[in-house]
């Protein structure tokens, strides 16, 4: 399983570099730095430098499992629209939709939540529960989000920054949004919204947190990998989409069979174990030997039992 973090808070080159290095170290596979629309173009100037720095990191400096073929995290940049009304949002999207592969909008205000859920040109409604006592979602918004393919984002940093009853309220909002997600099937993504290296957590820690508040393995898989990858893949082809459901194809593509056009996006497999490509799988070898011994004993017993049954069946047939 891969882990996508579509919301890292970008600020300046030094801070972003430290942030990206830290996230890469703790096992994230895809990182998306988000900027306000004013800073976005400035940030694009140092994107290549960041990627170069990332590719130069020694694998041994990361906590990745050596069995995986991991090299370094992929990096992209996007826009996070903050504190804007519906008109401003529309203007920003008209201006930046073709330049950016990822546009999210901070929620919290009910009008904003509604207008973002109804706008299929926006990828993500970020934190609809922001500064609210409820989750900021209802069945109407959930249906709209599903119809327009707008993902809802839950941020782990809201857990870190809040304490006591405020943290409990955020967790309650997470659970309510998850309830809507289970019923209405809109895309739901999980992110960290890290601003500094003190907000970066390992992938396994965050997966364990969401599991502890009642998310299933499949929901965690979809939130960290399936839906984020779908958003990234969709946006790579967005400029070819003429209208919903119609895509402009090059003449070369007509020669391809459908077999060649399969996506590498994997569905959740129930045997999926988060430990596969994560950092810690170390237990005593003695434990495994003990388990092997038990298996051998059990197997021997089973065979004896089967032999007994076969002998009895032979006797019966005779």
């Amino acid at each position: 399983m891969k882990f996508y973090d579509l919301n890292l808070r970008g600020q300046n080159y030094e801070n972003d570099l430290a942030l990206v290095k830290e996230a890469n170290k703790f096992g994230w596979d895809y990182l998306n730095l988000n900027y306000s629309h004013d800073n976005f173009e400035k940030a694009l100037e140092y994107k290549d430098d960041l990627i170069d720095e990332l590719s130069n990191i020694d694998f041994n400096q990361t906590y990745r499992n050596k069995k995986t073929n991991f090299e370094h995290a992929e990096l992209s940049m996007g826009i996070n629209i903050l504190n804007a009304d519906s008109n401003e949002i529309r203007k920003i999207i008209n201006r930046y939709r073709n330049k950016s592969n990822y546009i999210s909008c901070l929620g919290g205000d009910l009008k904003i939540n509604r207008s973002v859920c109804e706008n299929r040109r926006i990828d993500v409604l970020s934190r609809p529960y922001y500064k609210r006592k409820d989750s900021g979602m209802n069945h109407v918004l959930a249906k709209e989000a599903q119809r327009n393919n707008v993902a809802i984002e839950l941020c782990f940093r809201d857990i870190l920054n809040n304490r006591l009853k405020y943290r409990a309220r955020v967790i309650s909002s997470f659970k309510e949004i998850m309830m809507f997600h289970r019923k209405f099937k809109f895309p739901l993504i999980l992110t960290t919204d890290s601003k500094s290296i003190y907000h970066v957590r390992s992938t396994r820690d965050i997966a364990a947190f969401f599991k502890s508040i009642g998310f299933s393995d499949e929901e965690i898989y979809n939130g960290f990998y399936y839906y984020p990858k779908k958003i990234v893949d969709f946006n790579k082809e967005r400029h070819d989409m003429i209208v919903n459901g119609v895509k402009l194809i090059d003449t070369d593509d007509f020669t391809d069979t459908y077999d060649n056009m399969d996506s590498d996006l994997e569905e959740f497999n129930e045997s999926e174990d988060f430990q596969d490509d994560l950092i810690d799988d170390d237990f005593m070898d003695d434990d495994f030997e003990l388990i092997d011994d038990i298996d051998e004993v059990l197997l021997d017993d089973d065979f004896e039992l089967i032999d007994d049954i076969q002998i009895k069946e032979d006797e019966y047939e005779a």
């Binding site: 801070n15 870190l160 290296i197 957590r201 820690d205 947190f209 810690d280 170390d282 237990f283 005593m284």
Partner: protein, 125 residues
């Protein structure tokens, strides 16, 4: 009078979490233990935390660096916890972000059955 040591079958089973800690200020081994208990009790409550049986076994300062004129102390710690409660402890530790108004980040980088294998695999490497 000292209590007699329990036979091995009656002792509690433990696993060891290897932690990567970043902090703005220096952290002693005693501080680390109290931070761990605070985080667990705050997240899971007193009742569930009573199963965790936390104890700091080893505490090493790995690196001291600066970023934007702020000191960053990087530690690696071996924390004992009850077997089958590893995930609960790691969740509680990951939610800790400030202690005494100073920023701190605790990540679990490994789980081990023995202290020795934990150190050799996750700290000495």
């Amino acid at each position: 009078m000292k209590l007699k040591v329990l036979p091995p079958t009656l002792r509690k089973n433990h696993h060891y979490l290897i932690l990567d800690i970043k902090s703005e200020v220096e952290i002693s081994i005693e501080d680390m233990l109290s931070y761990s208990w605070d985080a667990c009790i705050r997240y899971w409550g007193e009742n569930h935390s009573s199963n965790f049986d936390l104890w700091v076994m080893r505490h090493y300062l790995i690196e001291e660096s600066t970023q934007n004129n702020e000191a960053i102390f990087n530690y690696k710690t071996v924390l004992r916890c009850g077997r089958s409660y590893e995930d609960d402890v790691r969740v509680a530790l990951s939610t800790l972000t400030r202690q005494n108004k100073k920023r701190i980040a605790i990540n679990t980088i490994g789980v081990s059955g023995t202290i020795k294998s934990g150190i050799s695999k996750f700290i000495e490497d």
